[in-house]
Symmetry: C2
Subunit: 248 residues, 2 copies
């Protein structure tokens, strides 16, 4: 795909999409997803890795809850990657990631991921350009390994919010008692680095593309969820899965 300029990329649904209608479509897709995930688990030939990235308050947690929350938890695993521990730092940056690669039959969701090693780390200059370039190659090799050697499909979603929407949501985290637990005193400082983050994301989209990224307009949750659910459904459908017969 051509170079993505995030500033010029919509954060809202196209005008043609009606909220109520889209929400109804989403409900149908979620029912279909439930059947597909059951088949994925039964057949156990394929696996699916869903990578979710986005700025603070871009709606990653909500997307996971609302798109995958109704599926059989036995077949769906979520791993949130936080700042690496000392043990993890004493290994290569993909070591802790590889441990959570989806087994056959499974859907594995990454809430943040190995991409942080070329995003937050670059914005804060913990990782220089030369290292970042080598990491991108390593990421491509790693994803190729999962795809070629464990029949894994990889879907990567960048939840694209506008800085205005982000500010609103961050303010809400302070005011809303049910959301205060999500507030981190660094959030506003990080938000000020917006342009740097966008630059690093754009560089990532351009260079880490063995499994390409989907830029999800994320100012409206209903549209964001519709886009993710649709992509997951289409991918699972393309596996052309069959229930296996009796074991011989």
């Amino acid at each position: 795909m051509g170079k993505i300029i995030l500033k010029e990329t919509d954060t809202r649904a196209p005008k043609s999409f009606d909220k109520t209608e889209t929400k109804e479509k989403l409900e149908k897709i979620l029912l279909e997803l439930d059947d597909l995930q059951n088949l994925l688990y039964a057949e156990s030939k394929h696996s699916l890795l869903v990578v979710i990235q986005g700025m603070d308050a871009s709606g990653k947690d909500g997307a996971i809850r609302n798109v995958f929350g109704k599926l059989n938890p036995q077949g769906v695993m979520v791993k949130s990657f936080k700042a690496p521990t000392a043990e993890e730092l004493s290994q290569d940056f993909l070591w802790r990631i590889h441990a959570h690669a989806p087994a056959k039959g499974m859907i594995q969701i990454f809430n943040r991921s190995h991409y942080e090693d070329i995003l937050v780390t670059r914005v804060h200059k913990w990782c220089d350009d030369k290292t970042a370039k080598k990491r991108m190659q390593a990421i491509n090799d790693f994803e190729k390994l999962l795809m070629a050697h464990n029949n894994t499909s990889i879907l990567k979603f960048y939840l694209h919010v506008s800085p205005e929407e982000q500010q609103e949501r961050l303010q809400e985290r302070i005011k809303d008692k049910t959301k205060q637990w999500k507030y981190n005193e660094n959030d506003f400082a990080e938000a000020k680095l917006w342009d740097d983050y966008m630059k690093m994301y754009e560089d990532c989209f351009e260079n880490c593309n063995d499994a390409p990224w989907t830029i999800v307009p994320a100012d409206q949750n209903w549209y964001k969820e519709f886009i993710i659910a649709s992509a997951v459904k289409d991918t699972l459908k393309n596996f052309n899965m069959q229930f296996p017969g009796l074991k011989k």
Copy 2:
């Protein structure tokens, strides 16, 4: 390196090596190794992966015991890779390997390794040539990751015994009560596939060479141990390590 023809490669020490003299040298190297490993652990900037491969009864266990057995066990880990479990088979073939990559400061020994996925599997036609080729690429990418992203040095040793020496040792396993536990009823059947194994090893040496292999003449244990210990010592010395000062 050029293509290795194992049939034309010595399995015994060069005539110039005297057994008693070499054993004395080995003892000195082992003392030096002890200091170097201590420094490796203290500095915690580098890590060392030692891959040991070889036919049944080529002396892998003995090499590990006699070269690494006296080092501080806190800094040396040994992982024996057996036939993969069902859980491991539901992942890509490097998943179970990556979990045992050496952390900084550590020496990790692999008794058998990811190379079995292009050796025993090819001999028994569980893995076709096309898949083997893709696996070799994945192995090179993977080793590059460890080297480039966790400062890991990789030493790969093939313990090269003659088929005659192997037969003698296998017979000994049946007769010697202290060695019977090592006997596996498949050993003699596997030994009959000698030429196939050599072909696959040669292919592996030719194509998996991001960190090149050392072919260790292994009919005589004293020479085998001397070669491995020397290579490990030289590698650790080249790290030019320093004891770190007080933490600030």
